[in-house]
Amino acid sequence: MGKLGFIKILVIAGEAGRVTRRYPFKPETLVSEDFRGRIEFDETKCIGCGACVNACPPNALELVDKGDGTLLLKYFIGRCIFCWRCIDVCPTGAITGTRDFELATNDVSDLYEVVVHERAECSECGGKYSTIRQKEYVVEAVPITESYIDKCPDCRKNKLLRALERRRGGVYE
């Protein structure tokens, strides 16, 4: 490169123009349509079935039983790998994906999202099982379940066993 070599570079730079993004000073659409970002819960649709918890590879979604009649669906964005498998498996379509990538924070508690569910109470033993929203969902889909849905799975099992015992002439308590 001689004395006037920089002119060549000026020509190349002129052809290329300005490539640097002006973000964050100017709002720009930086991400494509296919970009997967943070997920969002619709609390009116979520039934607390735990299908997303089963599907989540890094356990970013967790179901926590608080023991006081509430069931928490916890979403920790800091562990999420944005695979969107939870969206695929959700039976009610309560989870929607966003294109949101601006998630940086200086407080780790900002990265939690919680959906609070009420647990259903068994009419026979008073134990807690499932959630009220899941009960409603099942009755809506299959109305015949209404006769036994207010009992917990254990009580339902015992009822069947007792019925079988009666049929076979066994001892009925």
């Binding site: 979520c46 970013a60 990538f101 924070t105 200086n106 990265l111 009420e118």
Partner: protein
């Protein structure tokens, strides 16, 4: 945000056992397309010259003593920037035998050994987008507002009783 963060942030890239995806994104931020150097961000070769440590990876047990040495070598006031899902919450490795599971466990260990970290920033993403890193730089320097906050939603029941 404190006063010292307004100057140019020199960063040391600290890989603690990541898969190199986040590391490639950090290099991508330094290219002319995103150009982090317009904010004064510069990669330096030693933690002794750095203001901030860019931590990627879930901190493997093998890397832990070296990570602690690097943090100790950084002059006060020091910033720790946890980048990527592995670093923030342990990611897919949060409960494996060979990692401690992210920056939160690391901070507990640092507290035990009485090594202070002045500021900690968290950037989730797998891998982190270059734009997310630019946004985090803006957040550290006070150019943009924090957009995320914790949410507690209550599920709505349709029937009563």
């Amino acid at each position: 945000m404190s006063k010292f963060l307004k100057k140019s942030i020199w960063v040391f890239h600290l890989n603690t056992g990541s898969c190199n995806a986040c590391d490639i994104e950090i290099l991508d931020v330094l290219t002319p397309y995103f150009d982090a150097e317009r904010f004064g961000v510069k990669l330096v070769a030693s933690p002794r010259h750095a203001d901030a440590l860019l931590m990627t990876g879930p901190v493997t047990l093998e890397a832990l003593p070296k990570v602690i040495n690097a943090i100790e070598a950084t002059p006060r006031p020091r910033i720790l920037i946890a980048m990527g899902s592995c670093s923030v919450g342990g990611g897919i490795w949060h409960d494996t035998y060979s990692t401690i599971g992210g920056v939160r466990e690391l901070l507990k260990i640092l507290k035990e050994r009485e090594i202070e970290v002045d500021h900690v920033y968290y950037i989730p993403g797998c891998p982190i987008r270059p734009e997310a890193i630019i946004y985090a730089i803006g957040l550290i320097k006070g150019l943009v507002e924090k957009k995320i906050s914790s949410k507690v939603k209550k599920a709505v029941r349709r029937t009563s009783g």
